[in-house]
Symmetry: C2
Subunit: 327 residues, 2 copies
């Protein structure tokens, strides 16, 4: 049994707990929280909840620690620090800062002799893997990544900061014509506006100026100004009833050429349709936690990413079973 610890019990931490339940070779050993542990009740019976400050005292009870903090300020500190005492995995998703995060985690894990894996999930994660495989197979081609339809937490937060807005949710939606053009092998050059639209469901405060809210959202730099944005004003009840989920997904394409004179077209498409973004991210992390446990048992130390892990390490099945049933 692989004994998994969860460090941080929000949406992602709960998702890890659910994923462990689906994997017969894993068990939840402990949850660590920054809150008062006595106030945190988890789904799994008979599993202790500890204060995160006490984590190191429990290091011998944990084979892999899943760190469920945020990428902005939590993980850059937590993952290198915890790699001093644990085999660790995180879902660090600030693409531009991955090299720095990797270097910090790698140094800590190598020094302590632990195995670490960063940036597991779907983007970075499964989408990255699909970009890599497709680029290696088709050196001559174009990459396209589309996100959605799904809830963007960052854009939903941005809406809620607008004056007169009580609550809101934002969906990122790929433009169907852009998907069709890529699928047809047209290799289009797409602007930001041509790739995605943004749809907002907004609960206004009583007496707020709706036209002003609409203007403030649509012209917000970085978040909305470069997109075609639609705004629907709804009631708080409607928001709770119809928009409480956290669905997401997306598409990764490689549109490439084969043949002596590049005469043959290839379209590789990978897509995800997820009712729950954090649950799926957690399911990917659980599979890679198995790989981390195996690498650690082989004495591998330092930081890895999904690029460095042979696919068979994600599976509880033997090489013989995999070749007989999945190859």
């Amino acid at each position: 049994m692989i004994r998994v610890g969860i460090y941080g019990y929000g949406n992602l931490g709960k998702g890890i707990e659910c994923a462990i339940r689906q994997n017969a070779d894993m068990e939840l050993a402990a949850v660590f929280t920054r809150r008062d542990p006595s106030t945190v009740s988890i789904l799994t019976p008979n599993v202790p909840v500890y204060a995160s400050a006490d984590a190191v005292a429990h290091k011998d009870e944990i084979d892999v620690l899943v760190i469920c903090g945020g990428s902005a300020t939590d993980l850059p500190v937590q993952t290198p620090e915890l790699a001093k005492n644990f085999n660790v995995i995180d879902s660090f998703d600030t693409h531009a800062n991955i090299p720095t995060h990797f270097a910090n985690v790698d140094a800590a894990a190598k020094e302590s002799g632990h195995t670490a894996l960063i940036s597991a999930g779907w983007d970075p994660g499964m989408f990255s893997l699909n970009r890599l495989y497709a680029n290696c197979i088709l050196p001559n081609g174009n990459d396209y990544t589309f996100w959605g339809k799904g809830v963007s937490q960052g854009h939903s937060d941005a809406i809620r900061r607008v004056k007169g807005v009580k609550n809101g949710k934002q969906y990122t939606i790929p433009v169907p014509e852009a998907l069709d053009a890529v699928r047809a092998g047209q290799n289009p050059e797409l602007t930001t506006r041509q790739k995605h639209t943004r749809e907002c469901f907004v609960v206004a405060e009583e007496g707020a100026d709706l036209a002003q809210i609409e203007h403030d959202i649509k012209t917000m730099p970085n978040y909305f100004a470069d997109y075609d944005t639609t705004i629907h004003f709804i009631t708080e009840e409607e928001l709770i009833r119809d928009h409480s989920g956290i669905p997401h997904g997306g598409f990764v394409f490689r549109s490439g050429k084969t043949g002596w004179d590049n005469e043959d077209n290839v379209i590789i498409e990978y897509s995800l349709k997820l009712d729950s973004n954090p649950s799926f991210t957690a399911s990917v992390i659980a599979a890679y936690a198995r790989a981390v446990a195996r690498l650690a048992s082989e004495g591998v130390s330092g930081c890895k990413t999904v690029f460095d892990v042979a696919p068979s390490y994600l599976s509880p099945l033997s090489g013989e079973e995999l070749r007989a049933h999945l190859l």
Copy 2:
């Protein structure tokens, strides 16, 4: 530079030659043929063509030998035999016989200290990888694989053996309603007939009994009897004009559940749309040939499959470059 040899110069061998041209770190070192080498002209200038019987004499000129024989009778003999003197890769695709082939190649490669990789391509190959990744991420779910629209060589051959048939081509086509049901998360149980249809373009001999041909094809056991089959009689000119290509492709789905009570649906879909089946298979093999060369340079011996190779081994880029640009 990775010096690649091609053993067998048919459609797949030519595809390997084209793929090498797209990869700046690879060069074609030699082609080996069972035909009289003086009768074989290849596309790449200044590359020798040798008799396959003389291959071993050239072993020091080759880093990886790509074996392009057929799975029925060629590869079971060729791959273990050549693994005695070369690092080898093949596209062995008789799924049921993979365990035996693996064992034979593994024994030969381990004894000689070479690296071998079998069953590279798209199915087995990229489709297998997608089945494995998706199964590891979603232990709770159903797999669906659809093939096409594309030319089935085996079914085209079967048509041509029917009395009164001069020539013919068969397309395997996924049933759109079945794809839609899977995409919608309905987890349908599909019969053979519900998954694929078969479309045949047949050139009849002069004076042949068309009704009899149609009957003989549609009732042919294993090949057509379990499918809805459509037959079009066309002229030889039309066949050559409209059906000379070897397109193929297909879809791999995993329809699974996440969440504490399996309350959240996930659909993972991977698809390929290929103008040329052998060119794409060759492009996958070329990427894995790079991995074989690297594994060999690390002293790894024995037989591997796509399941055993970390994705980064397929790329000419460094770990730093991959993390910075593709993760």
